[in-house]
């Protein structure tokens, strides 16, 4: 009885003590408890949370330390198996960043709308692991099938390396034999390497990077698995409440002179990344016709990314002249293919985004009854067109005139040549012009004052707007993300509202988020 009287309060005290100690140990991370102030869940704004594949821990820890030292921001990293983290993201969704063992998980997350931006980091090569010195003398897949060679693999349904190996070997007709020769399938690539290290297997199919720091093991490249690589990328979650901070760390991770240094050191294949800057400034040159179509999108991009985009809108001829004189923007959104060609050597491959149609703009009600190019030759008509050297619009106008065979006659009526279409619209509105040849998009903002007359039967009256990123850009990945934003469905709606025709095929800006940006040099 006395014992009961002692033990009950003692055990209660013990519990209280434990809770106190636990709370204390958690204190540094504990936010000031929300007393009526509704703070967002999942950590204060100063602290980021990253869901990271356990396999990346050795790389991430030094990067995180450096980042915290350098910037003073804190990052909480939660390690686990990629599949587990993905389910956690799906159910609880409290992380700002997601860095799975390879891209396949990010693709799933992206398809389910859990992840917004994806930043490529590094690549891992697929090959064989053996004990140091390669005692079984394994050089090719046929060696794996020999009697007495114990082969283990990672599960081809649950793991990325297993999936990749199956895909590559199936193409060469080798999979069935390899599958039959496999002693066991493990749930992670590290289990495979562990099996070889403890001697439970002679050879396994792994990524080269899991062998970093394991002196007992050796990586063997075989011809059958040549070119089998997986991409490691980091994703910013769609539900993140601090996207700019999340992207700040994601940019640090994928920065050439920061995170990528560590990845390179630990044996990953690293492509070119952005250079690090706390607030990078991306410079974009764009034809002035594109301004209403992209300005809003760029502002939203700046806000989400926490970066600056300095944009220069002007007639494309002027922009090209500036670039030829040595000013090199990170990205160039040209009014027409022709004006991209002129500086094509500076830029990587270009992508056609939109099309704009050349029309004849007239005051509302069309008082002079203009129905086509022929009518621009009327006597006493004041016509405005774009300047052929200063802007794509002027150049296309001249080609259109030439096609119709009316150049000399119309040029007699031309009273003004401007570097941008907007100027023509203004002059029409003030009444100093009777007609102007400009883009349909120029009229989008002035539909109540102007009518547009289509130019029919002439193919070259349509301009195509391509986007390209500077080969020598300091921020190729950032520029690519801006492009993704411009390729998005919301942006497409703005383009349509501004009178542009959409040229990108469905999601073409999104199919290769990693490779497209990481290898701008590839054709």
């Amino acid at each position: 009885m006395a014992k009961t009287a002692v033990v009950i309060p003692v055990s209660l005290l013990m519990m209280a003590g434990m809770v106190l100690l636990l709370v204390q140990s958690d204190r540094p991370q504990l936010r000031p408890s929300a007393a009526g102030v509704a703070e967002p869940a999942g950590g204060s704004s100063a602290e980021l949370s990253l869901f990271c594949a356990a396999s990346n821990r050795a790389v991430l820890e030094p990067i995180r330390e450096r980042y915290e030292r350098e910037t003073g921001h804190r990052v909480q990293i939660q390690y686990g198996a990629s599949q587990t983290l993905l389910s956690q993201l799906r159910v609880a969704g409290v992380a700002d960043l997601f860095l799975p063992a390879d891209d396949s998980f990010l693709n799933i997350a992206r398809e389910s709308g859990l992840v917004a931006e994806v930043l490529p980091i590094a690549r891992m090569r697929c090959g064989l692991v053996v004990r140091r010195g390669n005692p079984s003398g394994i050089r090719s897949v046929s060696d794996l099938l020999r009697d007495g060679v114990r082969l283990v693999q990672a599960n081809p349904d649950a793991t990325a390396v297993g999936k990749l190996a199956r895909q590559v070997l199936t193409k060469q007709g080798l999979w069935e034999a390899a599958e039959a020769a496999t002693e066991g399938f493990r749930t992670t690539v590290n289990d495979v390497a562990n099996d070889v290290e403890v001697g439970a297997a002679d050879v396994g199919i792994v990524y080269d990077v899991v062998l970093f720091g394991r002196s007992e093991l050796e990586f063997v490249e075989i011809p059958e698995l040549q070119g089998a690589v997986s991409q490691v990328s980091v994703g910013v979650t769609a539900g993140s409440r601090q996207p700019a901070a999340a992207l700040h760390f994601a940019r640090y991770l994928s920065a050439e002179d920061r995170g990528l240094e560590e990845y390179r050191r630990q044996g990953y294949v690293v492509e070119r990344g952005d250079l690090w800057a706390d607030v990078p400034e991306l410079s974009v040159y764009a034809g002035s016709m594109l301004r209403p179509a992209i300005e809003e999108t760029i502002t939203a991009f700046e806000q989400r990314e926490g970066v600056r985009v300095s944009r220069s809108y002007n007639g494309c001829g002027i922009l090209v002249a500036q670039m030829k004189s040595g000013q090199h923007p990170d990205a160039y959104f040209a009014c027409d293919m022709e004006f991209m060609k002129q500086v094509g050597d500076l830029f990587g491959p270009s992508t056609a985004v939109s099309q704009n149609e050349l029309v004849i703009l007239v005051p509302r009600g069309n008082p002079r009854g203009i129905a086509g190019l022929q009518d621009l030759t009327q006597a006493d008509l004041r016509v405005g067109i774009g300047h052929e050297k200063q802007c794509a619009m002027g150049w296309i106008t001249q080609r259109t005139f030439a096609e119709s065979g009316l150049t000399t006659k119309i040029m007699e009526n031309v009273t003004v040549q401007t570097p941008t279409g907007d100027m023509l619209v203004n002059q029409l509105r003030t009444g100093s012009l009777d007609a102007a040849v400009a883009y349909l998009s120029n009229a989008a903002g002035a539909a109540e004052f102007l009518d547009a007359v289509q130019i029919q039967g002439i193919e070259c009256s349509v301009a195509t707007q391509p986007w390209a990123v500077l080969r020598q850009s300091r921020y190729p990945l950032l520029a690519h993300r801006l492009f993704e934003r411009i390729s998005s469905a919301e942006s497409q709606e703005i383009f349509a509202a501004e009178g542009f025709r959409w040229q990108l095929s469905e999601g073409s800006g999104l199919t290769e988020p990693a490779a497209g940006a990481a290898v701008p040099a590839a054709p």
Binding site: K3, P40, R57, Y79, G80, V94, N194, G213, R214
Partner: protein, 308 residues
């Protein structure tokens, strides 16, 4: 001890064939028993041969391992004490009374034991983060705090985690309470099993007699049944503690493996394994074995002290 027993037996049987038969008996028994003991000893020996004292010391010096060590001790003990607190009354109820639904309760209590660990973790995660059914139709204050979730496309409704955080200031998921809860969910089930068997073995007569002498049910429980159940309570505590120490799956899913925050020793082993640090993983595992042995010995000693 066996020598003394031998002598006793010889004195009792007095025959010549007795010792031979006894020898065979002990040989068979000993042989069968040693299979298991030998297996465990060999496992430990294999672990020891795989690691070195240097690796062991290096692992112990790591601040994250030290933090994990501390967190493990605290959470396991808390989970074990909580389990005993819940399991003792529950075990008593199940053992002494037949109430409506007692069979069902009996089965429900066993569910954490048979549930795959990862499923348990996932269930906890869903419980804390998915809106409670029907709550989205009620609106009110609760829905407001949960309203934050709607931005990510989730249906609005009352969400346990948000309520814990906003009203109690105690975030659970990915924090230490999640570790304790995950450990508790499993270890309590084992404790209830143990306590139920304990009370089953205690004759209720003594309590009945106490009640005829004027005790209330509460007094009979506290002053008669409980003192007899000490060994069972200690065993329940031991089992809970050991179970919590080895708990891994639900913690990984529900509490994550964040350094210095929710990384316990079992998750340390997983993390070290997944980056190929086999010797560090083995060193941490051996540390867990040492801890477990220390706690078991302490509880045995405590139990011996209690029963005298």
């Amino acid at each position: 001890m066996s020598v003394g027993m031998e002598q006793q037996r010889r004195a009792m049987t007095g025959g010549r064939r007795g010792p031979i038969r006894d020898a065979v008996f002990f040989l068979v028994l000993g042989g069968l028993s040693s299979c298991f003991v030998l297996l465990i000893v060999l496992l430990l020996a294999a672990d020891l041969s795989f690691t070195s004292s240097a690796a062991f010391a290096a692992a112990l010096r790591k601040p994250e391992i030290q933090a994990a060590f501390r967190l493990t001790i605290l959470t396991c003990t808390l989970a074990a004490v909580l389990s005993v607190w819940v399991a003792t009354p529950l075990g008593y109820l199940l053992s002494r009374f037949r109430f409506p639904g007692s069979r069902i309760v009996d089965v429900i209590v066993d569910i954490p034991i048979v549930l795959p660990p990862l499923v348990l973790g996932l269930s906890l995660l869903i419980l804390f983060h998915q809106p409670f059914p029907l709550t989205q139709f009620f609106g009110g204050g609760g829905a407001n705090s949960a309203g934050l979730e709607t931005s990510t496309g989730r249906p609005a409704g009352w969400i346990l985690e948000n309520w814990m955080e906003d009203s109690l200031g105690l975030p659970v998921t990915y924090r230490w309470p999640a570790v304790v809860l995950a450990q508790f969910a499993v270890s309590c089930a084992f404790a209830v099993r143990t306590m139920r068997v304990t009370f089953d073995q205690i004759n209720p007569r003594a309590e009945d007699v106490a009640r005829t002498l004027g005790c209330t049910r509460g007094q009979a429980f506290l002053q008669v049944a409980l003192p007899q159940a000490w060994r069972g309570i200690l065993t329940a505590g031991t089992i809970s503690w050991a179970r919590a120490l080895g708990e891994f799956g639900p913690i990984l899913v529900f509490a994550g493996a964040t350094r210095f925050r929710t990384e316990v020793l079992s998750t340390s082993v997983f993390l070290e394994l997944s980056v190929g640090q086999l010797d560090a993983a083995v060193a941490v595992s051996l540390m867990m074995v040492l801890m477990a042995v220390a706690v078991l010995l302490f509880l045995r000693w405590l139990g011996a002290g209690m029963s005298t």
